[in-house]
Subunit: 402 residues, 2 copies
Amino acid sequence: MQKYGGTSVADPDRMREVADNVARTRRRGNAVAIVVSAMGKETDDLLAAADRVSKTQSGREMDMLVTAGERKAIALMSMALEEIGVPARSFTGSQAGFLTDTNHRNAKILEINPSRIVETLDAGIVPVIAGSQGVSTDRDVTFLGRGGSDTTAVALSKALGADICELYTDVSGVFSADPRVVASAEKMQTITFDELLEMTATGCPKPVMRSVEVAHSHGVQLHVRSAFTWEQGTYVVEQEQDMEQPIIRAVTHDVSESKITVTDVPDKPGVSATLFRALAKADVNVDMIVQNVSEQGRTDISFTVPTENLTLASSILEEGIVAGLGAKSFTVNDSIGRVSVIGAGMKSNPGVAATMFETMADSGINIEMISTSAIRISCVVSEDAVDAAVQALHRAFGLDAA
Amino acid sequence: MQKYGGTSVADPDRMREVADNVARTRRRGNAVAIVVSAMGKETDDLLAAADRVSKTQSGREMDMLVTAGERKAIALMSMALEEIGVPARSFTGSQAGFLTDTNHRNAKILEINPSRIVETLDAGIVPVIAGSQGVSTDRDVTFLGRGGSDTTAVALSKALGADICELYTDVSGVFSADPRVVASAEKMQTITFDELLEMTATGCPKPVMRSVEVAHSHGVQLHVRSAFTWEQGTYVVEQEQDMEQPIIRAVTHDVSESKITVTDVPDKPGVSATLFRALAKADVNVDMIVQNVSEQGRTDISFTVPTENLTLASSILEEGIVAGLGAKSFTVNDSIGRVSVIGAGMKSNPGVAATMFETMADSGINIEMISTSAIRISCVVSEDAVDAAVQALHRAFGLDAA
């Protein structure tokens, strides 16, 4: 299974390169199916067209609209393959057997019946499958959401029993930090699912977390690689083979979130529940949450939300939530960034947090919030300190190339 | 039933106007379903994209590609309707129940099972149906061909038992001649199916002949009208009510064809069959055919083909057909035009042909070929004489407005 993202199939030249790679894969004796995203900025263009026509954008109609993008891509990609003598046949999500729930814009796969894909592969033909789409139990066209092509590829890999699911993107693999920030960042040959999940959750751009979760739970082996250099990328594995892995594998960062602090909240049961239920109802995706130590029965609660949801979140807080909680007020800060260190090795190395905080202090960087998981420590810092923090941590944890 | 062509839904403003018209139709107490073509030049853009990717353009993949155009249009049109409070729901050809044969690019409708459309209408919701598409007996996406949206609308009108099928275009009806050539050309209030069929076959641009044939054979009443002025257009009727109709209803012209003459052909059985079978095999659409009077067992055969097929037709003739026939050679002329007079009244008025030929002679126009049907006479003339011929005939048959 190979999945090609939007930049990989953005124009005719790119499609020809992808076709050549599919041909190479077949020459090595592999049967291959491919999943294709909409070309380049096509999905954005379709969404912009909807904005020009209507503010009433029902999920059903939006899904009918955006799935036209992948449909165009699979037809053209199939023609590009046939042009170089590779038999190919395109399939929409529905034709490929993706049955989903009726949750438009962000549908979940309920079941895959890939009988047409199996027939096509058996006939020696390359199935070219539209990413991120399916048909609902109500027989309507559904979209799995932005980045859903990864999920399509992973789920279909499982259904077909594929040896590997190659996710072709515009980066050549998973790096120990963003190479634009840390010049010496190194591409990893392998990474564990747990580590990749933490990385995608904290700023590593691809693949989308949902697809990694699906791959992890179904034992689908992933290979994240480039459709531009075609070099070997990063394999995602269940467990590192090598016991001598470094404690920290990567430093990630994310400046797409903002911080909200609700001040002087009564510290009693149910307060947090009220606050975050109200935000969840409005589909505001709250990430880090930190509650200060209570003083005289009152406390502060800070949390991060995507900056694109900041206006919505603020209006919900203003509409009585803050007053209803008995809180004093709230402040927002959209100039923050999150810096995270990730590595399965930290489970058995208790000094990681201390090293991280010392490194930040030595660089004169103030830490505003902290959150941790078993294999990750994240710090919220001022946005203009993010690059310096990433560089210092990459060096401190020995990730700079020798 | 209302069908809106590509120019009628070319941009958001046009879609809003169409939505207003649908709302008006509903306010008058009518349940309405609409069929929508791809927006503006969308289909051309998709075909151009295919040309940039591949010369190998299988019918199956081309249909997958071009049907993306109507999919985009129906989703946006549904949103435009909902924006003004008209409940709407989009349906692809497949969802609307159009089952077709497997003849890609130009599929024929085998059966319509419009149960979802009926349910939608019953629920007081406007079904917005993608024109010119269906699903084949092989479960593949099919395209009914350029202009197939008219056919979709007519066939669905029949299946739903619609009172009328309104075909909205960028012209305000059917005219007695092209208003760009004859300033005094008049819009007809009614026209018979037979007359309209002859007109669409000889240069009247819309609606497509196939849809008129389907409407005729299934008794679907058509109303050809404008989506720009919204004025009343031309009703297509079975038989004129008024016995005092003029003999000739309209003068049409068409400069999209070229003439080929195969010279000095043996006049024996099978020659024409060989010639036209070879052209038919290559999908060259031969129109008028005229065979000269035989002299000493040899003759000339002239016929017209669409100018876009002229190169193909010529190469077929060169590849041995001319030699195989025992003919001398062939000549081509791409500077011709056809001028036709049409009217059901000519059946009982034998002087029409004479009047036509006299009018041409008086205008100093040489007639190169002649063909007739029961209600039409067509003459091929030099392309630069076409406008003068149309104007002279429009006047001679009393069609100029008083």
